[in-house]
């Protein structure tokens, strides 16, 4: 038997059989299908569009298209005073406004070179850790939805509601806080705040366990996520992954530890990294697991802060805020550990104006998502959904 030729177009093979007969074999005519997933799709978490080239249910290649929510945050920044940018940073990552605000304020404070009162630092850490829990709750809940489990999502939102209430109580807004200001805070916390947060911690501990039992330990959930979308540690670093994504690949890297800011060096908490027993290192389950464990670590941080937070009589959280914020010429790259990874602000001041010359936001989701093309090669569509869910993108931050 000898193959004489092959026409690529419709997969036809011309074969000379052993008895000299020429047979034309025509394979089943297949071709790739282009599947546009998003921008309106239930599991792209917003307006992400993935153009998938699929072979049956197997994704040959998925190309992400961004920008559907782009509003050019950086252009706004060039037209706004330093303090007026803070509410815009809230709107970047609207699930973790406090953390993004903190990163931005750290940057400007570094440029201004000013001291922050200790009480302010403690409050900042408490609110950003509360926000981290709230953000992880959304991540875990929506991940459940992506994989078809609806109930954990609502349990997550029920508990997140308490955090939002707490944050509304201190900042006046539920999601877009504008609470952390350059050099201080918008308001001091209410007198009962300490007690109420302690109550929340006590309330949330058993709920987190229940959530793990319902979702993370579920065999179907484990089967769906284990070994899906494995990212080796070195590639993850090369892609500049950060936060739970990088830690899911087994790299113990947390800016709160490795580039400490605020009062994190004084606090005692673990950086959870998967051990490879329950999950394969670097897979979607590891990333989910890191988020789940981080919630408990955040609770630990909050408890310590509540214990150590100094009470100051007649404390004015705005006392040290400069009247006119005009940093001297210079540039800074400041970052903080967001729930989604490293959020950084590259701020350039020309020293003359009260507006930054340049304020680039390095968004964690944007960078984490850039590995999507690599991660999605050869995956099934359900796995693709599992991978997007585990990246935990917020399109407001991706597109800025």
């Amino acid at each position: 038997m000898q193959e004489l030729g092959k026409a690529e177009l419709n997969a036809t093979r011309i074969i000379r059989q052993d008895d000299n007969r020429v047979v034309i074999e025509k394979d089943l005519d297949t071709e790739y299908m282009v599947l546009s997933m998003g921008p309106q799709h239930p599991s792209t978490h917003g307006v992400l569009r993935l153009e998938c080239i699929t072979d049956g249910e197997v994704v040959v290649e998925a190309e992400p298209y961004l920008g559907y929510l782009h509003r050019c945050f950086e252009k706004y920044c060039e037209k706004l005073d330093y303090p007026s940018i803070v509410p815009y940073t809230d709107r970047m990552d609207y699930l973790a406004g406090m953390n993004t605000e903190l990163a931005y304020c750290l940057g400007v404070e570094k440029l201004l070179d000013i001291e922050i009162p200790r009480r302010v630092e403690f409050i900042r850490v408490i609110v950003s850790e509360l926000n981290r829990i709230a953000s992880h709750l959304v991540a875990i809940g929506t991940y459940g939805i992506d994989l078809g489990a609806f109930t954990p999502f609502l349990f997550c939102f029920r508990d997140r509601e308490h955090i939002l209430n707490l944050l509304e109580w201190i900042s006046g807004a539920r999601m877009l806080y504008n609470y952390i200001w350059i050099g201080g805070l918008a308001y001091d916390v209410p007198p009962d705040f300490r007690k109420r947060v302690a109550e929340f911690v006590a309330y949330f501990r058993p709920k987190a366990v229940e959530l793990q039992e319902l979702l993370t330990e579920n065999e179907i959930f484990v089967k769906r996520t284990k070994g899906v979308g494995i990212m080796p540690a070195d590639v993850a670093i090369n892609y500049a992954w950060s936060g739970p994504m990088l830690r899911g690949s087994g790299v113990k890297w947390d800016l709160r530890r490795n580039d400490p800011y605020s009062i994190y060096p004084e606090l005692d908490f673990d950086v959870p990294v998967p051990d490879g027993k329950f999950s394969d290192i670097g897979d979607s389950l590891s990333r989910h697991l890191v988020r789940a464990l981080e919630m408990t670590e955040s609770l630990k941080i909050i408890e310590q802060c509540l214990d150590r937070m100094p009470e100051v009589d007649g404390f004015n959280s705005r006392a040290l805020i400069p009247k006119k914020i005009r940093p001297k010429a210079g540039e800074v790259y400041a970052r903080a550990e967001n729930p989604r990874g490293e959020v950084g602000f590259y701020i350039v001041s020309d020293g003359k104006s009260t507006k930054p010359l340049r304020c680039k936001a390095r968004s964690s989701c944007f960078v984490n998502l850039s590995a999507m093309k690599d991660l999605s090669k050869g995956q099934l569509i359900p796995d693709l959904v599992a991978i997007i869910g585990s990246i935990d993108i917020v399109l407001g931050e991706v597109d800025r």
């Binding site: 299908m33 599947l35 799709h41 239930p42 599991s43 249910e57 459940g144 939805i145 992506d146 994989l147 078809g148 489990a149 609806f150 109930t151 609502l154 349990f155 029920r158 319902l214 979702l215 579920n218 179907i220 959930f221 089967k223 769906r224 099934l380 569509i381 359900p382 796995d383 959904v385």
Partner: protein, 359 residues
Amino acid sequence: MSQSPSLNTWSEALSGFYIGWLPLGLLIVAAVPLIFIALYALTYGVYGERKISAFMQDRLGPMEVGKWGILQTLADILKLLQKEDIVPTAADKFLFVIGPVIMFVGSFMAFVVLPYGPAFIGADLNVGLFYAIGIVSFEVVGILASGWGSNNKWALYGAIRSVAQIVSYEIPASIALLCGAMMAGTLSMQQFCVLQSGPYGFIHYYLFSNPIAWLPFLIYFIASLAENNRAPFDIPEAESELVAGFFTEYSGMKFAMFFLAEYGSMFMVSAIISIVFLGGWASPLPNIGGFALNEWTSGPVWGAFWIIMKAFFFIFVQMWLRWTLPRLRVDQLMFLCWKVLTPFAFIAFVLTAVWEIYK
């Protein structure tokens, strides 16, 4: 068998009822399941599912239309009726229209052989169980027609998945039901119930009287979830992956027909499982000494009550599972079918055969 003389008396009497040339009785016999399906899908199916899911998720569920929102489904139906009935330009119009009809008819036709009590059955076929299995898988044609006819990529995916899934799960499901048929020695649905009724109530049910019956019972229950596209096997309509699967392009009443068909076949499989393994309309209460509980709670009306309650219980379990579990992936679904359920179904088959010979 005290009921056997009165078996099917009501439905037979009805089918002989003519007004002139008009077989009114036959129409009524056909209308009873239809009305039942509509009422049940409206009340327990949609409203019940919404409330049950809400309570499991610490929510209230529909509350606005009527007291406790009981008229919510009516409002939904009105809304669906008012919606524009869109047929996409690029769709294959014939298949697109015929798809939901086939699905609905398929799930409805199976109700023919359901005994709603000792005195009422649409048609007491001697191959009733066989007919039911066959007709339930008729839905595949409707799903394929609507998925292909929509000319939508998501719908196509849903249809392909669905066909693969339903055809595969036919095998363990049928074998599991075959175990039941072996225990009873009949395929007639009425006979199943008759054989499982007796003075000791639930003791006579195959699930409790036969030591192996739990295995085919469990296998059939799992397989029936998959055949109905219910979670955790709802991959054909996996809303987070395939938007809405095979009915992505449907709106208005065509969409509602998919819903009715789904709830119809949910009831169907729940009824089948309760007939084959749990005695159908036979009362579960035993006679205890002078308290002839079993006899007091038997009879045509009680029979209807029992079978509907048993089916509703299984529907509740289906909903309960749906609002607890994540969804399986396609390959895991197939793994479960071919490598877990099918071998165990064969084991159950052999064990049942051995038990039936040597008991």
